[in-house]
Amino acid sequence: MRTFAVLFQKELRESWRSFKFLWMPLLFIFLGISDPIMNYYMEDILNAVGNLPEGFTITLPDYAPADILLASTGQFQSIGLIVLVVIAAGMINRERQNGTALFIYVRPISFAALYFSKWAVINLLAVLSVILGYGASMYYTAILYGTVEPLLFIQMVASYCVWILFATTIALMFSAMFKTALSITFTVIVLPIGVLVQSLIGQFWNVSPWKLADYSVQLLTQSENEYYLKTLLLTIICTVIFILIGILFTRKNASSVKV
């Protein structure tokens, strides 16, 4: 526990000094704000830049608050997710490859503590960013389009955070298993591209962690979804399994540290 506290402080310090705690939340806030505002001004923008013929008007659909939050989720699922998991995919292996981890590995530490120090910091960063991002999106949506049930909103955010923990855990597992180039490649294939694949051919299955983000937003409209709980449970189980695999490989690959 003491080792965890010491290493957690070290990881926190690194993230702080490399400005991650500044730019990651700002990125998510930006992504969260941009859809409510863009959609609000869409008509004006099209008229201004579209060179539409005289008398031609476009009627844009009237968006419900849930639609805007769905659009923001789409932003988090692309740019936000990529940035987050690419960072996580380098957390364990980079230290090994450049040799800085050596001074930690030769000391009487538990590798579980080492793993969790990184897991805790990346997820602190992720959850903070997601909450601020959704908060900003909700704030603008409320001003421009109307509100949603607060409790449902909180449920949605919490549910989305479970998906984000799942995503960072996969990235961290790859980070423990492979060198950075490989771990980043696998992470990008499994997560951002996985999300893309899910959106293209996802109608063929109902329960999958990759569906959790969509299901989370659907909570807002309160439409009955018999698969939601199963998906949530599966995601949590997978996360736990991937954590264990991650710890295992953190220990196993410690000897590959550059001496």
Partner: protein
């Protein structure tokens, strides 16, 4: 006392360390000597617990978790560039089990000892090569380990830096057992209790400097002449067994003969100009070449 028995390491089909055994007495200073690729770093890594041996064991009297009692300095220490010197040493001190309150104090103390007092609040990214080596030593000794493992502690430094670090290590020796690897033999010559010569993963020779020297020394007298012809002339004329190397002639001594006086007498009666006569001893470098060459 540390006992290493039958230590072996294979990487795939390749045997990098093969059946290495030795003991380190408490407070002793031992050098691991061998050419590049002889397995020095691999042995140190196994002792430090970084690599799992394929076979054999490392035991420290009365200690269970050997990692608590080890300080390790790699050949090219790499530091987190975003930490200051004192923050880094504090981190390593805490990880070695020093209390949060004591860690800061110990860190400052050890940084002063290695001569980094004025740089403790600088980021390690700004440290020079010599400063990094000092910082590396500081992290290795901050928790007062029983065994210090140093991988080529001075070979990347210039002569001045080398001297400073060796002086530091001399001061240290009072407290800990030290095992260090080197391929620079002058370092080893001056302060080492025990030498382990490594060749292709095997210990081919071990003992104190004197023991090894006695074993390999070829008694001979070295005579330097003014010119090459004179050396050749003397060599062809004398009755003793000789070997010529340019303007130098080696006269080999067998069963105490010839004596220095006999050679001097012979020289003073000869027409050749002599520059220098001395009882020749093999340098550690030459012994090394003898031990490790096939």
């Amino acid at each position: 006392m540390i006992t290493v028995q039958h230590l072996t390491k294979n990487f795939g089909a390749q045997t990098v360390v093969s059946d290495v055994s030795f003991t380190l007495e408490d407070g002793s200073f031992t050098a691991l000597i061998g050419p590049n690729g002889a397995g020095k770093t691999t042995i140190l890594s196994m002792l430090a617990g970084l690599l799992k041996p394929t076979g054999g064991s490392v035991k420290m009297e009365g200690i269970k978790d050997i990692r608590k009692e080890i300080g390790f300095l790699p050949q090219y220490p790499q530091f987190y560039p975003w930490l200051t010197g004192v923050e880094f040493i504090e981190l390593t001190a805490k990880l070695s089990g020093i209390s949060a309150r004591g860690a800061r104090k110990e860190a400052e103390k050890v940084l002063e000892f290695v001569g980094l007092k004025d740089a403790i609040h600088k980021k390690t990214a700004q440290y020079s090569g010599g400063m990094k080596q000092r910082l590396g030593i500081a992290q290795a000794i901050v928790h007062k380990p029983k065994l210090l493992l140093l991988d080529e502690p001075v070979s990347s430094l210039d002569p001045v830096g080398r001297r400073e670090i060796m002086n530091l290590l001399k001061q240290l020796q009072r407290g800990s057992t030290i095992l260090y690897s080197t391929h620079i033999l002058n370092d080893a010559e001056e302060m080492t209790d025990q030498l382990l010569f490594l060749k292709k993963g095997k210990v081919v020779e071990k003992g104190s400097l004197n023991e090894i020297r006695e074993k390999f020394d070829v008694p001979r007298i070295r005579i330097q002449f003014a010119g090459v012809e004179e050396a050749a002339g003397y060599s062809s004329q004398t009755e003793w067994p000789t070997e010529v190397e340019g303007n130098v002639v080696y006269v080999y001594i067998k069963d105490h003969f010839p004596t220095m006086q006999q050679v001097m007498g012979e020289l003073s009666n000869s027409p050749f100009t002599v520059v220098k006569v001395e009882r020749d001893r093999l340098s550690l470098e030459e012994i090394f070449m003898k031990v490790v060459s096939p």
